[in-house]
Symmetry: C2
Subunit: 209 residues, 2 copies
DNA sequence: AAATCTACCTAATGTTAGTTAGAAAATGGT
DNA sequence: ACCATTTTCTAACTAACATTAGGTAGATTT
C-alpha cells in the first residue's frame, strides 16, 4: 500500500522510495496534461503515456482522477504561496511597499511561468474543475487572496498607494494581468522577470505622460 | 435542411424563421454551457435541457458539437470586435487617446460581462478547445489584437503613452486584467463600467503616490 | 529457497455521451 | 380538412474512457 499523505512512512531504511518517485512522476504528468488540455479533456491514458506507465497502473498510486486533480491544486497553491511569502520576507522589514509588492509579483509570476506546472494548472483550470473540488480548495485560495489584500492595504495605510483606490478591485485586475500570462506567455521567449517589472510599473506608475 | 451559414436562405415568404429561432436558442444554450462548464465537460444533453429540446434533436440544426463551438467562437469574437470599434468610433475623430482607449476598454468589458455569453465563452475556454478549432480562429483573434495594437501605438506616437513602454507586453497585461474578470465578476454585484474605469485609471495613472 | 510484497501490466466491465435512423408531431400553404 | 415540409422525439448504436480484477516479474523478507 502506498502512502496516502506525504512523509508519513514510519522509517525503514531506503524507504518506499521507488513508489514515492513513481507517484510523483505520475502527478507531474497529470499537472502537465491538466494544464495543457484541461481536466475533462485529459484521459488517464494521456497521463499514463507521459509518465511511462499504463493507465490501469495509475490506480496503484491514486484512487481516482479527481484525487489527482485535488493534489495538483494543493501542491500548486502551496508552491505559489510559499514562493510569494518567501520573496517578500527575504526583503527584510525595512523594504519599501513598492519593493514588497514588486517582489510578490515577481515570485507569483516565476512560479506560474517557470517553476510549477502545478501552480499553472491550478490557475488555468480551476474554474472548470468539478464543483466539489472547487469548494474543497476555496479556503486555500481565500488565504492567498487575504495575504495579498494585506500587502496592498498596508501599502495604502502607509501612503504608498492612493487613498481613494478600490483595493479589492485593483487586486483582481492585478491578478488578472498576472494570471492571464499563462494563456499567452512563451516560456522560451521572455523571462518572467521582465513581465513582472512591467506589471509593477503599470500598477504603480501607469503609462500616461 | 436547415441553413448552413447565416442568411443564405434564398427567399420564401415568412422564411424558415421557426428553424432560425430554435437554432439560435440552441446556440445560446451552448454558449452558456461552454462558458460555465468548459467544452469537454458540457454534454449535448446539458445544452438540450437548457434549450428545451432533446439531445438528438440538436443534430437537425448542427452537424456536431465542434461545429457549435466554432460558431460560438465566431459570434463571440465578432460581437466584441464590433462593440469595441463602435465604441471608439462613436467618440469622433477629435477624442483624446485616453478617451479612445477608455472607450475600447469599456466596450470590451461590457461585452464580456453583460452582453454576450458568446464572447465570454470565447475568452474563457478558447485555450482548452480542440487544437484544430483554435487554429481555425487564430486569424480572427489576431485581427482583434491588431486593432488594439494600433490603438495603443497611435497613442504612443502622439505622446499620450510613454515612449519607453513595451506596448505588446502592456497590451497583454491589459487583456489579462480585463479578460480575467470573467473568472471572478459577479454580474449582479458591480457594473462593468466601474471595472472599466478602474482599469483605465490603472493603465494611465497607476496607483502610486 | 520459499513465501511474501511491490509495482506494474493486461484484459475486462460498465457507464457515459456523441451520433444516427426512423417514427411522430407540428406547421403552413392550398 | 389535406398534403408536403419542417421540426422534434425516441431508441439504438458506437466509441471512448474511468475503473476494476486478476496476473506476473522482480525484489525483499524469513
Amino acid at each position: 500500500m502506498p502512502v496516502e499523505l506525504a512523509d508519513t512512512t514510519v522509517a525503514s531504511g531506503a524507504d518506499a522510495s521507488k513508489s514515492r518517485i513513481s507517484r510523483r512522476r505520475v502527478l507531474d504528468a497529470a499537472a502537465r496534461c491538466f494544464l495543457n488540455k484541461g481536466y475533462a479533456a485529459t484521459r488517464l491514458s494521456d497521463i499514463a503515456d507521459e509518465a511511462g506507465m499504463k493507465a490501469g497502473s495509475i490506480y496503484y498510486h491514486f484512487d481516482s482522477k479527481e484525487q489527482m486533480l485535488s493534489e495538483v491544486f494543493d501542491i500548486g497553491m502551496t508552491a505559489v504561496f510559499d514562493a510569494v511569502r518567501t520573496g517578500v520576507e527575504t526583503l527584510g522589514p525595512n523594504a519599501s511597499h513598492r519593493d514588497r509588492i514588486g517582489a510578490a509579483i515577481k515570485a507569483h509570476l516565476q512560479q506560474l511561468l517557470e517553476q510549477s506546472d502545478y501552480t499553472a494548472a491550478n490557475i488555468r483550470i480551476f474554474g472548470q474543475a468539478p464543483a466539489e473540488i472547487q469548494r474543497r480548495h476555496m479556503p486555500d485560495r481565500e488565504a492567498y487572496r487575504e495575504y495579498w489584500r494585506l500587502l496592498l492595504e498596508d501599502a495604502r495605510r502607509d501612503g504608498a498607494l492612493r487613498a481613494d483606490a478600490d483595493l479589492s478591485l485593483i487586486r483582481m485586475l492585478l491578478f488578472g494581468a498576472l494570471n492571464w500570462t499563462v494563456e499567452w506567455n512563451d516560456p522560451e521567449k521572455g523571462p518572467a522577470d521582465k513581465i513582472a517589472d512591467a506589471a509593477t510599473a503599470m500598477l504603480f506608475d501607469g503609462l500616461g505622460t
